[in-house]
Subunit: 169 residues, 2 copies
Amino acid sequence: MDDLAQPLDRESAADSQPASHKAELRLWLRLLTCSTLIENGVRKRLRETFDVTLPRFDLMAQLDKVQDGMTLGELSRRMMVSNGNITAIVDALVAQGLLHRQSALHDKRAQIVSLTETGRMAFGTMAAAHENWIASAFGDLTTWELDQLMDLLARAKHSAATAFAAGET
Amino acid sequence: MDDLAQPLDRESAADSQPASHKAELRLWLRLLTCSTLIENGVRKRLRETFDVTLPRFDLMAQLDKVQDGMTLGELSRRMMVSNGNITAIVDALVAQGLLHRQSALHDKRAQIVSLTETGRMAFGTMAAAHENWIASAFGDLTTWELDQLMDLLARAKHSAATAFAAGET
DNA sequence: GCAATATAGTTTAGGCTTAAAATAATTTGT
DNA sequence: ACAAATTATTTTAAGCCTAAACTATATTGC
């Protein structure tokens, strides 16, 4: 009987009264909460234990993954922050003797930054502690749950990247 | 045969050579990537479409959830940012006529902030667009996958909250 | 070759963020 | 009652972040 109240054209009805997406909204808020919770926890421990900021640690982590350093632009892309931002963080780490800066051989515009020996050792110490903090943050999850999350977040990452890339320059 | 190479005491071996937690580390990086991807996308769209910053939108979102406003401290806790931060954001929104500020009746220290009528309408418009952006960010995931993620992130949230709360004041 | 375009990095202005210290008001313990 | 501790907010200094404008170098298309 209630069917009589339904509009004949479902599509136009969907347009005039758009579908609710509260589930996605709640998921986003929960994702953000998790992320912020861990990020704030790590930030605080890095400061208290090693007197280092999270952005500087993150930058060193990117450099630790490669042998021969990388350009500022590559750091910017990998860290997903704007390029104007990298300059100051690199400046600070170079001033502390943790980073080495050199012009690229075949491109006078570009600069290659890499960890100094001091920097690589300092990062090694911090990274070991960091790994334990993260392990304990996920300590209540089983291996199976970790794998599930990895898989679902991979799909979410791809979905979001596609959605937000649509209509870019 | 290889068993002969194993130490007799597994516990002490685990201490001298701590377990690797690369899986948790990769999960954290993926979670952070997802979060940053969506956050940056939303930030850009809010600026381009409504000329508003993400922190101001987030603050209005908190106030929109309640009828009678809340104190600055409550905003600080809910948004998981430091309290000194809230002051400036509220100041800006009050100056734009989007927020109302009043002293709490029974506590002269506290101030209650709430959305003005203008603020609530402006937020309504932005929230509708925001909801669609988030829906499209998760557009590739099935309902079942959304539910799975919600559940797993709830566990992760609880785990991380417990881990980082240990040893606090 | 050379002008137009693109890329690498820096600088600037404005805004967000934190931690820590300061102010003011409330609550607690005696 | 009243001193001590707590709570709400603001202020400060330092650092991170973005977008946009700018400089310098490289690449592309005639």
